[in-house]
């Protein structure tokens, strides 16, 4: 059994190794302006069930170069989903947005939400997990120590416990964001946003390729979305691609 695990580990590490070299050769293609071959290579890495923010980012760049702006935005958004602090992707998205047909004024966020968002994004999700675990385990050790040495240490124990709980809440919140904040990119040239989940309902407005949508709900083939300026509606599932 142990051998089997070992062998699978070796094989999987080989496959990552092969994909690493594939990644590098795709980078080379990109710098030689052979964007389509680079795209094929990057995509094959993704099909191998591997991912990284940089991989998505580079693929987004390729699509930008081949003038497929909607795909570029899709992959940049995917990059940001994995690493919200990826500044290169943020800047590139802003450039892409200038090329889109739809211009949407983003609703300003409430200041405390903005602040909270900044705090959440200041370090990565894994760091939040590690910090939470460190604080709770420290609490445990201090408690045991206090018991053995007959010291009270109430302040230290209480503060560590509360810190751990706060960190835990933040971590859970980030995770919920990741799971619940589903968004999508319009992949067809133009799509109508309807007032109800049916093709017969009245058309509210039209959106064009590359626009980002936030998914709220889904009924059958229809998805309830809202766009950055707060407008809501229903869009046909096949017109969009979820990030």
């Amino acid at each position: 059994m142990k051998k089997l695990i070992f062998i699978t580990y070796i094989i999987s590490s080989f496959s990552t190794l092969a994909n690493d070299t594939l990644f590098l050769s795709a980078n080379n293609d990109y710098s030689n302006e052979q964007y389509s071959t680079a795209i094929v290579k990057y995509e094959s890495i993704i099909n191998d069930n591997l991912e990284s923010p940089e991989l998505y980012y580079n693929l987004g760049n390729c699509y930008f170069r081949t003038n497929e702006i909607h795909k570029a935005i899709y992959y940049y958004e995917k990059t940001l989903k994995h690493n919200p602090n990826f500044n290169g992707a943020k800047e590139n998205i802003n450039l892409c947005k200038e090329k889109l047909i739809d211009k949407i004024d983003v609703m300003p966020e409430l200041f405390y939400k903005k602040l909270f968002g900044k705090i959440k994004n200041s370090i990565s999700f894994n760091t939040w997990i590690i910090l939470t675990l460190i604080s709770i385990w420290m609490m445990l050790f201090i408690s045991i120590y206090s018991l053995l040495r007959r010291r009270r240490n109430y302040i230290a124990r209480f503060s560590l416990l509360s810190l751990a709980l706060i960190l835990f809440c933040i971590t859970i919140n980030i995770n919920n964001d990741y799971l619940n904040n589903r968004s999508a990119i319009i992949y067809t040239l133009s799509t109508d946003i309807m007032s109800a989940p049916s093709a017969k309902s009245t058309k509210k407005f039209t959106l064009h390729i590359g626009t980002k949508l936030k998914i709220n709900d889904q009924i059958g083939d229809w998805v309830n979305i809202n766009i950055a300026n707060g407008k809501k509606g229903w869009v046909f599932l096949e017109d969009i691609k979820e990030i």
Binding site: T16, N58, E91
Partner: protein
């Protein structure tokens, strides 16, 4: 087929204002009418005066040689025909309809027919590219001789075109169209530049014409008659719409193409290439050619950053909206602020030639400019306001070279581990608390064991001293206590007997982090023992047990401190 008719008119009397004029003329009129030639009159007047016979031939009011007519009478009419055409007496015309133009005068009852007054809109091209130019000419045609004036109430709607009106001379000219003579006047001439592709329609132009009409009521009254009184009658006419097929410029459009269509030439000129700092250079770019030159934007040239560049002065000489060879001259004033050698890059001008259907790139020449040190300002130019660095061309960030590829993981699995690791310590603490609640002693016992060991050691060391108490050997007791304390100290800290002193106690105690209080008590106790040994005292009995217990305590304390 030609027919010749002779009409003879004889005599005519005019009676006016009760005055009688009598005149007698003998006229021989020939009317030549052919199917081909239309209508004209030949008048042949034969006169006999003083016995001489003279002939005079008049055709449509012009005197001609009678010989030609006599030849024509004999069947040879070609010469006559040519003569008439050459002298503009006869116009070859095919009557379009049978309407006679005889009564066009005073004809106020008749509706002006399309043949007599109309506008013709013509373009020089029908198939063009976006940005290409066409000329639309609106021509007023009339066969009326009572046309007073005309006016254009509204400009035609030109969707998708950029238009420029050209100056026109609105003088009437004679023009022959399909054999019918018209008076024509160009009333509007516009250069249109197509701005978008597709089938664009030039809307019809409407013109209001005023014709002079003799007032019928006044005329019918024979008395009094103050001459002819005219009124103006309005006629509305409009041209036909024209559909222009505008095709998109072929793709791919080269980078830097800004929509210039036509045939151009570009040249640049600079007035000096060597100068001192803070002097001015005049750099000019001249575009000549035909096309939509008027729509060429101000050009952007990447001048060196240390040059102060002023907005270009644009002089243009555009003829017929660029339809004829025009020029556009951009004059830049440049002031280099620092010494050094600079390069004015060449400007690339790309245009589409609709004739060859190709994009053509033309470049101006490069100039190398050497700027010398300025005379008056040693330090050079010091800008008052600091310049901001402006990113001229935005582009995406470059790709990332390194990455750590990871398996697309199920985030939930990681999260389960996280929950486990988070709640485990909490659980452990809770369990510990519960255990302690029920079995408080366990921990105390663990802690007490050490205490017990320390107690044992103390008892062992002080055994002799406690024996002395039993024997009531007072001197021996103090001696033993002191000795055993020193012995304990020496054993514990591995001190040589010779080194034993109160100072060394302090240093060793300090080194092992033993509380100051214990140290003080230790020294006090030893002092006390020494003192008690040599001093007579009555209540040594009572002291002994106290000293023993305090010695014990000191040893226990030291033991627990040292662990």
């Amino acid at each position: 087929m030609k027919k010749i008719l002779f009409i003879l008119f004889l005599g005519c009397c005019f009676l006016a204002n009760a005055q009688i004029n009598f005149s007698s003329t003998k006229q021989n009129s020939f009317q030549l009418r052919t199917n081909k030639l239309g209508a004209f009159y030949i008048t042949k007047i034969e006169r006999t005066s003083n016995g001489k016979k003279s002939e005079q031939c008049i055709i449509n009011g012009t005197e001609i040689n009678c010989e030609l007519i006599s030849r024509c009478q004999n069947g040879n009419c070609n010469e006559l025909e040519n003569y008439l055409i050459n002298n503009k007496i006869l116009q070859i015309s095919k009557p379009i309809n049978n309407q006679k133009t005889k009564n066009t005068n005073n004809n106020n009852k008749k509706v002006v027919s399309g043949n007599q007054l109309f506008i013709n809109a013509t373009t020089n091209k029908r198939e063009i590219y976006v940005g290409e130019q066409i000329i639309v000419t609106y021509k007023l045609h009339t066969r009326l001789n009572n046309l007073e004036n005309y006016e254009i109430p509204s400009e035609p709607n030109l969707n998708g075109f950029w238009k420029k009106d050209l100056p026109i001379s609105s003088r009437f000219k004679q023009e022959n169209i399909n054999g019918v003579t018209y008076l024509t006047a160009v009333i509007k001439k516009t250069v249109l530049t197509a701005q978008k592709s597709g089938k664009l329609t030039i809307d019809p132009m409407e013109v209001t014409c005023n014709t002079r009409v003799l007032n019928q009521q006044n005329r019918s009254r024979s008395w009094p008659n103050f001459g002819n009184i005219y009124s103006l009658k309005k006629e509305f006419i409009s041209s036909r719409p024209i559909v222009i097929n505008v095709s998109e410029l072929p793709n791919p459009k080269p980078k830097g193409f800004k929509g210039a269509v036509g045939e151009f030439n570009i040249s640049s000129n600079i007035d000096k290439i060597e100068l001192k700092a803070n002097d001015a250079i005049t750099y000019s770019i001249k575009i000549t050619g035909t096309g939509n030159i008027e729509l060429i934007d101000a050009m952007k040239i990447n001048f060196p950053e240390d040059f102060e560049v002023y907005d270009p002065k644009i002089n243009d000489n555009i003829i017929e909206g660029g339809n004829k060879r025009s020029t556009k001259n951009y004059e830049f004033l440049l002031i280099p602020r620092y010494e050094g050698s600079y390069e004015i890059p060449s400007y690339t001008f790309i245009f589409f030639n609709p004739k060859t259907k190709k994009y053509i790139t033309k470049k101006t020449s490069k100039y190398n400019i050497s700027v010398l040190k300025s005379d008056n300002n040693e330090k050079g130019y010091v800008p008052i306001t600091q310049q901001e660095i402006i990113e001229s061309n935005k582009d995406i960030n470059y790709i990332k070279i390194d990455t750590v590829l990871v398996k697309k993981s199920d985030k939930n699995q990681n999260l389960k581990l996280f929950y486990l690791l988070f709640f485990l310590p909490i659980l452990v603490i809770i369990i510990l608390r519960i255990i302690l609640f029920f079995k408080k002693d366990i921990i105390t016992n663990i802690l007490d064991r050490k205490h017990k060991i320390a107690n044992k050691i103390a008892n062992k060391k002080l055994r002799k001293a406690s024996e002395c108490i039993k024997n009531k050997n007072f001197e021996g007791f103090f001696e033993e206590t002191e000795k055993s304390l020193w012995g304990y100290f020496a054993d514990k800290f591995k001190v040589q007997i010779a080194d034993l002193s109160k100072e060394s106690v302090e240093s060793y105690f300090n080194d092992n982090n033993i509380k100051k209080d214990v140290e003080i008590r230790f020294i006090e106790l030893i002092n006390h023992c020494e003192f008690a040994r040599y001093s007579p005292s009555n209540n040594k009995d009572k002291q002994m047990s106290g000293i023993l217990s305090s010695a014990k305590k000191i040893i226990i304390d030291v033991e627990s401190e040292l662990k």
